[in-house]
């Protein structure tokens, strides 16, 4: 199931990007990144491929549009996500001797689990695992499952958090 730019804009809930939709590229984050030699976008895209179901396609553009859209409106988020991506990179090099984008999908999954992310409470000011849960895993999950395509993946065409109108709730499942 292919994620689209429209999905990313929908997950951004439509207001963030009205005037800046053309400029939502990693350049912005990478130029402003302060904590890593690795471009933040590459790290986030690689992690998203592990966090998202394999049935999802076009992860790179979706994550780029979403994350950069968020960052363009929220400096605190931008700083947090860049620092947390750098933090995960440091673990990757320590534990797997390679940066995240060069790890196999299974290794990225393992990296996140070794961090303790799966049971960590999301907290932007917490432990490493809690920050990864907040800034990476839950950010990416929020983006996916509040988007129309992410909702369709589960079986709901107007998921909570998406303003998909007042027609879908009236339809039966037979459509």
């Amino acid at each position: 199931m292919e994620l689209t730019r429209r999905d990313a804009l929908a997950a951004l809930t439509g207001t963030v990007v009205a005037g800046s939709a053309g400029a939502l590229t990693w350049d912005r984050l990478d130029e402003n990144g302060e904590s890593s030699e690795r471009p933040t976008g590459e790290t986030l895209t690689a992690l998203a491929e592990a966090v998202y179901p394999s049935a999802v396609e076009n992860v790179g553009e979706f994550v780029e549009t979403y994350v950069v859209g968020r960052a363009s409106e929220r400096p605190e988020y931008e700083r947090g996500v860049a620092e947390t991506a750098a933090l995960v990179e440091a673990y990757a090099v320590d534990w797997f001797d390679a940066p995240v984008p060069e790890l196999a999908r299974e290794e990225r999954d393992q990296l996140l689990r070794q961090l303790g992310t799966q049971t960590a409470d999301p907290d932007p000011d917490g432990t490493d695992a809690e920050r990864v849960r907040y800034y990476i895993v839950n950010e990416l999950q929020y983006a996916l499952y509040t988007s129309p395509t992410g909702g369709e993946l589960v079986g709901i065409d107007n998921p909570q958090g998406h303003g998909g109108g007042t027609e879908s709730y009236r339809r039966g499942p037979e459509r």
């Binding site: 049935a55 999301p122 895993v137 709901i156 107007n158 909570q160 007042t166």
Partner: protein, 553 residues
Amino acid sequence: MSADETEESEQDRTPSDRVDVCVVGAGPAGGLVAHRLADRGHDVVVLEAGPRFDPADRLERMERAIRPIHGDDEVWEMSGPRDEFTTPGELFYPLNVARVKGVGGSTLHWQGMVMRLHESDFERRSRDGVADDWPIAYGDLRPYYAEAESALGVAGASDNPFAPPREEPHPLPAFEPSHSDSLFAEACERVGVTTHAVPNARNSEPYDDRSACVGYGTCKPVCPSGAKYTAESHVEKAEEAGARVLDRVPVQRLEHDSAGERVEAAVYATSDGEEHRQEARAFALACGGVENPRLLLLSESEQYPDGLANSSGLVGRHFMEHLFAGMGGTLERRTRQNHVGFITSESHQFYDDPGAGAEGTESSVPPSDDDLGPLKLEFLNYAGPSPVETALSAETWGDDLLPQLREGYGNHVAMGALVGQLPRAENRITLDPETTDDHGNPVPAIYWRIDDRTKRTLARANEIQRTILESLGVDIEWTVGPDNTGPAYHHMGTTRMGTDPESSVVDPQLRTHDLSNLWIPSSSAFVTSGAMNPTLTIAALALRVADDLDSRL
């Protein structure tokens, strides 16, 4: 994004010269009173304890509501020393998720269901021999109900055969029934229960410069689109009509004249620690069913050693809530839940006669001889887990998570019900001198328990729900009933209305018996609770108070 953390505006928070009316509280009652009076040329000041929340932050607040890091009391910043409370009564009461302080008040996080009380609610003593009659009848409020529906922008239909009489249609067309409503309607027909539309203070089409609902699905606790009515609307209208609105100015006490007959000033605090006196010819206390009595009790004086307007000793007493009864489970078919965050079908069939039986095409609801109170039945559109919320709390991701989400979503249904409790003097809001707020004031202490009649009615609601769900073929997985019920966050009864100053706090016009220039437009004036969501009645009472005040100023 915290409103408290954002830099306070440079707004001048010094008092105005003596005004016509000082309104305390900027929720629906305060907003409507302020707007109507300002619109009629009166000089009005509104004092609000909480902040003015920036509408541009609504999407972020919606995210707070969905993401698991945030508690229920964080969406609207209800916590901390400002909002301390204690619950020494039999039951814990979760006050800080039951209200919002700020411009808009609790309409910021409400569900938006707006029903009129029934004629029977005003005559509980006459009809059932319990509680008391109101000193006013449905007919006294009827024109104000219509005005309130226009003011709030109610989407509704005239298809409810159990509703009290009305002549005019709702201002907006009702939201169409959901897919699961149609499943319920069939099951209800089989057991003899009639369903009908829900009046919603939520735009089904653009109204009053607000957009139509776009289905974010997070109505409670936050509507990002502005389609759901909040009292911010009337606070802004009041300002446009000339009213002055001060936020972040918690009123500390009301001060009266030397004779103890009139309120002279509302003393409020500002963030710099200063206190100011806002003088007015008349005062409208509109802080809700908890803070209204608290403020009166905090305003004790030599003449009123037990609290202002409390010659009866009843300020804070007869606290009432609506209790929730519910039941839900799964079906072997798709039910399409969680597309929207509001309800589109209800049944008020058992409101006036909760013990009545019903006979359907295939089965029946058995009658009951128990002594019961009114109840209403709701058919939910948000049963079962929301996939995004499940994903955010899951202990896995990727290909492991997706099957869990698919399995967990799609075939849930649920019913709710509201049951009103009887007014009992021991259920009360008082002050806890052992605990103080950020200004050193004793916090509200809530004494609350549930009476046997209410418990019987909850059991009756469960009995009807079970009949319907079994007819639908639901595998019932959970029940909320008499032993595990919870409040619907409707605060009522703590400055009750009546003609006798010995047994009530305010008169039928909602003016206090003790002080001739103090009105309390609020659910705190309710004599009985009914089982309908209270805000439309609050709005109707507020408009009626505004007319009364207008005629006297």
